[in-house]
């Protein structure tokens, strides 16, 4: 499924607003300048997502996974490769993870960061759709991406698609790349796109 240029622009703008709120929250709690950008956005059928992401994030990944329900429903993921996740945590917490592995405190940091980011994005969609979107408790998953996506492929009758946002965290002269992935049924995505279109028209009129 392809997005029109207008849909892509409006979605990118919305996500960037959510990201700037996340960056502000992270800057506040870490007392250092954090920037998050969303330079690219794409939509993939879920079946193709594995291959698309496996090329970009080979090996071990660290994922914060949250299920959301409401007028739009699906799975929200912040996906980082393990090394990038460790680096992000080290930079934010200003400490070195022992032997480059995430210790329990490091995992909590990642959970907090993922929760803020996913809350901001899903909250933004909820606002645009003018409905309450409910979130599950986020889970941190440290496993092979393929295994995790296979779990999501199974179950759900609706054809599912993935909205993939290429995400860059920038702090202390370092760039750490990752992905925000929203996995939605086609009907949820259509509702979202329609609402985003209305939002764009509304804000454009203002």
């Amino acid at each position: 499924m392809l997005l029109t240029a207008e849909q892509r622009d409006a979605l990118t703008e919305l996500i960037n607003i959510a990201f700037s709120r996340t960056a502000a929250a992270l800057s506040e709690i870490t007392s250092r300048r954090v920037l998050i950008s969303a330079p690219q956005l794409g939509v993939h059928p879920l079946g193709e997502l594995q291959d698309a992401l496996a090329v970009l994030i080979p090996g071990e990944v660290a994922t914060v996974h949250q299920i959301f329900t409401g007028n739009i429903a699906g799975d929200a993921l912040l996906v980082l490769n393990y090394e990038g996740a460790t680096q992000l945590v080290d930079l934010l917490a200003d400490e070195l993870s022992p032997a480059g592995r995430l210790d329990p405190s490091g995992r909590e940091v990642l959970m907090e960061v993922g929760n803020i980011l996913l809350n901001a994005c899903l909250g933004m969609f909820g606002n645009v759709l003018e409905v309450q979107v409910s979130f599950s408790v986020p889970r941190l998953r440290l496993e092979d991406l393929r295994g995790m996506l296979t779990d999501m492929l199974i179950g759900g009758d609706d054809i599912r698609v993935a909205l993939v946002v290429y995400t860059t965290f920038r702090l202390k002269d370092s760039d750490i790349g990752g992905f925000l992935v929203l996995i939605l049924g086609v009907s949820s995505l259509e509702r979202l796109l329609a609402a985003v279109g209305e939002w764009a028209a509304r804000t454009g009129d203002e």
Partner: protein
């Protein structure tokens, strides 16, 4: 359930399960009495509706039953630390996760067991929105005490950092890093691992016995009004001097009050605490590692660490000093202490190239010690060696320290006089002859010292190669020697 004993159990075997008529109540009882975490429930106006025994017992000042009290009154630290907005967001339907790494704690509860007076518990917290009838009716906070885990992680992180530092340093030891680089590396590691804001490393110059420190910062130079980049200490005083004089490590958490302290020089920044170890190689003092001004007290573990760093630093110093010595040996003549042929050619070629670029004159002087064979054969080799050393002393006395003076063969010497005009050749030859005459006037040798001298000038207007210049000087020296032989033969006839 197969228990591994061949017997299988089922629910029928646990009659007490059948008696469980209020399962939710049982969980409530457990949450109240046995849960190893804090639970706090508020309504939508953030008035506390319930908090469990775990939390009530730890609350300071003790607040009894907190139910009915506004959350921000019962826990004013939430407002003081600007954390109440997490509750507002939870009331907005968003789960909040607060990790200890960023927040240390949500509610100010004493650490258990206390690490020090006033130490607070490390916590991770989750604030859940509580829904009733599709609306958010309040919040549920779950607090976990992670103090013990944080302490374990801190120890692990520190041990990893120490291992990494030691590995890095070991790598540097076998690399081509200079002693200056290694001195900086050792100091950086010592400061990082002991959280010290200042310090220095230094090595003992084997020839002078002085402490050479390449790591004292520019601020220190300015404060101590030291102009040189590398600071050299002749006298070992104060706490750091005690370490060197006694060859023992020292830990002083109240540096000013320590009886071994001799006070600080005027303008020296204050030293709160101090930790240092001597670098010893095979019981020989070769250097020192010192750190100061950690915001916390130094521990025995810090002392052990600095001693390990000092041991590795001692290895690095010994190796580099040995390399320098080997290098010196390879370019110097052991008998006279002058450069040997290799040393002369290496340094002289470099100077000829520099003279070509800077267009400055040079003078090459070739000198032969006359009659060395006769001295060796008739008076013995020790006397011949003495004649060579006398010649070397004479050359050192005649030429400048910056000139390159070498023994280039058995009885042959060469000098490259820097920035010298052609006219100076004759002056230098005259000085040399005067020196020889002075030496012989002492009449303390069973022979008279005699030198044949030839000079060649390097003219920057007509650059010539070093070999050609040496050839010219050698030829002139040879002519002088021949003339001496002819004169001596004429006298004998």
């Amino acid at each position: 359930m197969d228990t591994g004993t061949g017997m299988t159990y089922g629910p029928q075997d646990f009659p007490e399960l059948k008696r469980l008529r209020r399962p939710v109540g049982a969980i409530e009882d457990w949450l109240e009495q046995d849960a190893a975490f804090g639970v706090l429930l508020t309504d939508g106006r953030l008035v506390i509706r319930y908090c469990n025994q775990w939390l009530r017992r730890r609350k300071r000042p003790a607040g009894g039953d907190l139910a009915g009290k506004p959350l921000l009154d019962a826990f004013p630290e939430l407002r003081e630390r600007r954390l109440e907005h997490y509750y507002r967001q939870a009331l907005n339907g968003q789960l909040q996760i607060l990790s200890q790494r960023f927040h240390h704690y949500l509610l100010a509860l004493p650490a258990d067991p206390p690490e020090g007076p006033g130490a607070l518990m490390f916590q991770t917290a989750r604030i859940y929105p509580v829904r009733e009838d599709d609306a958010i009716a309040g919040t549920l906070t779950v607090l976990e005490d992670v103090t013990e885990r944080v302490r374990t992680e801190t120890v692990l992180r520190r041990k990893t950092a120490v291992s990494q530092s030691m590995a890095d340093l070991s790598q540097a030891l076998i690399s081509t890093a200079t002693l200056e680089d290694i001195s900086h590396l050792v100091l950086r590691m010592a400061q990082e691992l002991t959280e010290s804001t200042s310090g220095f490393t230094g090595y003992i110059d084997g020839s002078t016995g002085r402490l050479v420190s390449p790591t004292l910062s520019r601020t220190s130079w300015d404060i101590c009004r030291i102009k040189e980049k590398t600071v050299v200490f002749e006298r070992f005083t104060g706490l750091w001097g005690w370490v060197l004089n006694n060859r023992r490590p020292l830990l002083a958490n109240d540096a000013a009050a320590d009886p071994r302290s001799t006070g600080l020089p005027a303008g020296h920044p204050p030293v709160r605490n101090f930790l240092s170890a001597p670098a010893l190689f095979e019981d020989r003092l070769v250097g020192q590692v010192a750190v100061a001004n950690s915001p916390r007290d130094y521990t025995d573990e810090d002392l052990h660490l600095v001693r390990r760093l000092a041991d590795l630093y001692a290895l690095a110093i010994s190796r580099r000093l040995m390399e320098n010595r080997l290098h010196e040996l390879s370019i110097t003549d052991e008998l006279t202490g002058l450069y040997n042929r290799r040393g002369f050619m290496t340094l002289a070629e470099q100077q000829v190239r520099i003279a070509g670029r800077t267009r400055k004159g040079l003078l090459i002087v070739f000198i032969d010690l006359d009659g060395l064979k006769w001295i060796n054969d008739v008076l013995g080799h020790p006397e011949g060696d003495r004649a060579l050393r006398d010649t070397a002393d004479l050359l050192r006395g005649t030429f400048r320290e910056s000139d390159i003076i070498a023994r280039v063969g058995g009885d042959e010497f060469a000098v490259l006089a820097l920035e010298a005009a052609p006219a100076e050749g004759e002056i230098l030859e005259r000085h040399l002859r005067e020196g020889v005459a002075g030496r012989n006037a002492a009449a303390d040798r069973p022979y008279r010292l005699s030198l044949s001298v030839g000079t060649a000038c390097y003219d920057p207007g007509q650059p010539a190669a070093l070999d050609a210049l040496l050839g010219q000087a050698d030829l002139r020296m040879y002519r002088e020697k021949e003339k001496k032989r002819r004169d001596a033969a004429a006298i004998i006839r």
